[in-house]
Every structure is written in C-alpha cells, then in structure tokens.
Amino acid sequence: MRLELDSLTHRYGNEPAVDDVSFGLESGELVALLGPSGCGKTTLVQAIAGHIHPTAGRVLLRGADVTDVPAESRQVSVVFQQSTLFPHMTVSENVAYGLAARDTGSERRDEVVSEYLELVDLRDQRGAYPSELSGGQRRRVELARALAPQPDLLVLDEPLSALDRTLREQLRDEIARIQRETGVTTLFVTHDQEEAMTLADRLVVMNDGTVSGIGEPRTLYESPPTPFIASFLGRSNTFSATVIDQQPLTIAVGETEITLNGSQKDVSTGSTVTCHVRPRDISFRDSANDGANLSLAAEITRVVDIGTHYDVTVRIDTGDELVVECAGNPPAVGESLSLALSERQMTVFGPG
C-alpha cells in the first residue's frame, strides 16, 4: 500500500483528537477523508505530512514506517484550504521550489515547471506573483507546485472550501482530470459529502476522532453502515418502528406491518429500530412504482417550492415527519395518500 495508518491516536494535552484510526491507500487511488469540522481530519493530515508526532500508532509510506521521519524526507505534498503560495516568489519560482530541493538541474527544472503549468492551464502566468492571481488560479498553482516534485502522496486538505460554489465545482472537475492524468495517489480531505462522493474512488468517513465507515461512495450512500453515515452522506428521513418478527424480519411502523425479505439484522423481537430512507427515494404511490414494494399511509403537511424541485413534508402514522423530494405536480397540503418506498433503499438500524 502507498499510505497506511496503523492505529493512529493523537491527544492534545488530555484531549483526544483522533483515536485508533487505521486505513490505507492503494497506489493511484483517490480516497476522500470525509467528516464534519472537528472530527480529527486536520490532525490526521498533520500526522501524515509529518508536522505532528502522533501519541500512538504508526504512519507507513510504501510499507516503511515514517512516524519518526521529518516532513522534508517524506515526499508527501500538501495543499491546504488557505493558499500557502510563497508571496515573494513568482508562479514559476513557486512551482520550481520543490524541484530545487531535489537537486534537479536548472534546465530540466524549467522543463518540469512548464509541463506542470501546462497541466493546470496556466502557462501564461509564469512570471506573475501570487497576489496578481485570482483565487482559482492560485489553487491551480498550488496543485502544480505540489505535483511537480512527483510526490509519493498528494494530500488535499479542504482545498475548495474557501471558494464560491461555481468555482468549487469547476476546480473539483479539474482536480479529477489532473488526478486521472498524473495518476498520483491522492488523499482528498473535506467536510463536503457532495465533493467527496463526486471525486473519490473510496470514502473514509470520520466522526468524532474515529473512523465511522470505509467504502465506495455508492455503497455507503445506498447501504450506510451507521446512522451517522446515513445522515451525513445526504438528506435523510428517519422514523421508528418495532420489530415484531424475525426471519423474515417484520417491523410495525405505526399500524402498518412491513416485511423485509432481504434484510438480515441482528435485532430482537420487541425492540425499537430506526429506519432510514432518503427523500428522493420516496414517491407518491400511483400507477407505476415498479420497484417500490412497501407502502405507508401519510398526510401532506407542507409543500415548499425550491425552484429545482418541491420539498413535500408528510406525517406518517408514528407521528414522524418525512420529507419527500418531488420533481413536479406536488400534492396539496392536507391530502392523505400512500407513500411508495422500496426495501432496497431503506436501512434499518438497531437500538443503541
């Protein structure tokens, strides 16, 4: 593996920032490290880059333990949320900086600088100073500077969070392209699940200093292993139900009994479970809901026009309110109708 974290734990004073974190990146992979602010992402970045020494655990690069190796000997390039371009150097001096450290000859250095400025589409800005560039251009110079020394690992620490949405989406696509073209092993750190899911081959989802789940975006989105991942990876409705039978698992949602043929869940009869389903996976039962094998009675309590779609809030038997996303022709408030949802798109979490 290119990068491996082995039971990494770090405390600031007595405050644990990350606790027993283990995961790895294969060569050429783009993995997103995803979690809310304060979940310990930055501490991991600092430990991987070599700016802090973890309280316990190991960092391995290409299989070698580098926990005690200083930052300058790790070949890990980092791009932070805030620009770290050297303001007293031109664009090409910035990009050449990491090459000079590796004793690249000055002619070869010029070539490499041109190559990477070409890659980020900034060949005409060679002589400009960072202060003369736009926010998006600065990001791209940082990418070029980080990539030019051909690092073993590229760490992008919230590289898009300080930007406007439009620019963010543009640069996100550009990062995807650059990663495809260079094949550099990349750890993309973000709090934005949309960004993470769009870019990453795999997600490592963190919560409160620990790993909450690891997997491909679609797998984690469709079959979240924990309630935290269910709610963090996208809008989520939850409602409670009672287990009334096992094999097949049968639950009561208010008056309605639902049999889940596909779900294998270790919950005892009589216990309360939480069901999770996404707003876009619920529809209003009408002629053609082929895949939707489950039904729930509901009353419409609120309809909001979001412009791109309608958010319809409904109340079901249990008193829980659910949101249904609906593209057009929303029902009227007060109407009673039947919700259609499919077992495949519903996740059941046991108590505790």
Partner: protein, 249 residues
C-alpha cells in the same frame, strides 16, 4: 459627512501630535543660528561621533543576531517557562535606563569577578567602548526581539509546513520562507534598536561616562555651554538616526 463623528478624538489626538511636532520644528528653526560645521569639527565632537558610529552598529548587530532567533522561537514554539522568558525579554524595556546601568555595573563592574578578570585581560567592561556596547545592547535589544516576533507571528505557519513538505529542512525553510516574509518587521525592529542604541544615555552614563558618545558629549557640552553649544552635535545625532531610517525604508 462622516468626519464630525470623530471630532472629539481628532482634537485630542491633534494636541499630542502638535506637542510632538512643535519641539522638532523649533529645534530645526534654531539650527540656522549656530555654526554647525564649526561645532562638529572640534576634536571632542569628532571623537564622540566616531565612538557612536562604532558602538551603535555593533550593539545593533549583536541584538539582531541573537534576538531574531529568539523571536522566531517565541513566535513558533510553546515550552515550559515561556512566560518567564517573555518577562525577561520585556525587563530591559521596563527597567529605567539608569537602573539598567547600575545593574550592569553590579554584574560586570571593575570590582566584580567578571569585570576584574576582563580588566586583567586588558578588556575593561566599564568606562570603555565595550561598556558602551554593553549598555546599548541591554537597553535596545528588546525592540528588535519584540518587533521580529510579531513579524514571524504574522507569517502563516502553513507556509513553513509547505516548504518542509517540498523537501526543505527547518534551517533552509527559515532562510527561504520565514526570514524573507518577516523581513519588513525585522527591519523595523533593527531601526528602532539602532535608534535606541545610538541615542542611549542613561545606562551609558552609568556604565561608561568615558569614553564619550554623542549623547554623553551633548550632556557635557550642555552643562558648560548651554543649548546653543549643543545644537550642532544634536543635529548630527538626529541626522544619523533619520538617515538610517530613510536608507532602510
């Protein structure tokens, strides 16, 4: 339409500005009445100028070479006893110069172990140019330390981390990144330290009343000749200070 909002503070602030500017203007307008060139060509004046131009740059250099690294550590690291170190750095700024001079005498005076040894070796630490340098450094060094620390503090630590990750050790990172980016603040601190050193009077009077520097010469001439006798040397001292300020800006 917004100026009247700040009328009261503007009037109060204007008073102190006026008080700062008035003596300056009065002094400069006085210079016409004195023969500056003649005043500066006496042997006493020449010696004083030479002594000051020798000691103040050395004191400034010592303060900078020893103070800037300390400033960097204070800006970047936390360690046990840091508050004590900070207090020690502020100390010479708080201690009145004459008391500072007295302190230096108790540490390295002729009859202390250090002072006696130095005198025996032919390098007396009081009433000598070395003494002047000791006095100037004690009083002036905090300025470059405090200003440089603020300058390093304003450099985003992540720029240094980026340099490390790009393959540079701590020392080359300091030279390539931290130092150039804190350059403005460090220069400002060097100027303040030089100005304080070349103008140092209180501690110098205690530690090295002889040989005379420009400030002590001004005092002696003032006692014997009054204000008109010292205008040339005072003007020269002011001119050197402002010239250094202008040269570095």
């Amino acid at each position: 339409s917004r100026t009247p909002e700040l009328l009261v503070p503007a009037v109060l602030g204007g008073l102190i500005l006026l008080y700062f500017a008035l003596p300056f203007v009065a002094f400069l307008s006085r210079t016409g009445t004195a023969n500056v060139v003649a005043g500066l060509s006496t042997p006493e004046s020449q010696t004083a100028i030479r002594n000051s131009l020798l000691t103040a740059p050395i004191s400034t250099a010592i303060s900078t070479v020893l103070g800037v690294p300390l400033a960097y550590i204070l800006a970047r690291r936390s360690f046990p006893g840091k508050r004590l170190v900070e207090a020690v750095v502020i100390l010479p700024l708080i201690v009145p110069p004459v008391v500072g001079g007295a302190m230096i005498i108790t540490a390295v005076g002729r009859f202390t172990p250090i002072g006696a040894a130095a005198t025996a070796a032919g390098i007396p630490l009081t009433d000598s140019l070395v003494g002047v340098i000791l006095a100037q450094t004690f009083v002036a060094a905090p300025f470059v330390i405090i200003t440089a620390r603020a300058g390093f503090g304003a450099v985003d630590e992540r720029l240094e981390q980026a340099s490390r990750s790009l393959g540079y050790g701590p020392l080359s990172t300091f030279w390539n990144v931290s130092l150039p980016l804190a350059r403005g603040a460090i220069l400002a601190g060097v100027i303040l330290t030089f100005a304080r050193a070349i103008g140092e009077f209180g501690a110098t009077m205690m530690v090295a009343y002889n040989p005379r520097t420009m400030p002590t010469r001004i005092w002696v001439d003032f006692i014997t000749g009054g204000i008109d006798a010292i205008v040339p040397l005072a003007l020269a001292l002011l001119g050197i200070t402002l010239a250094v300020l202008a040269a570095v800006q």
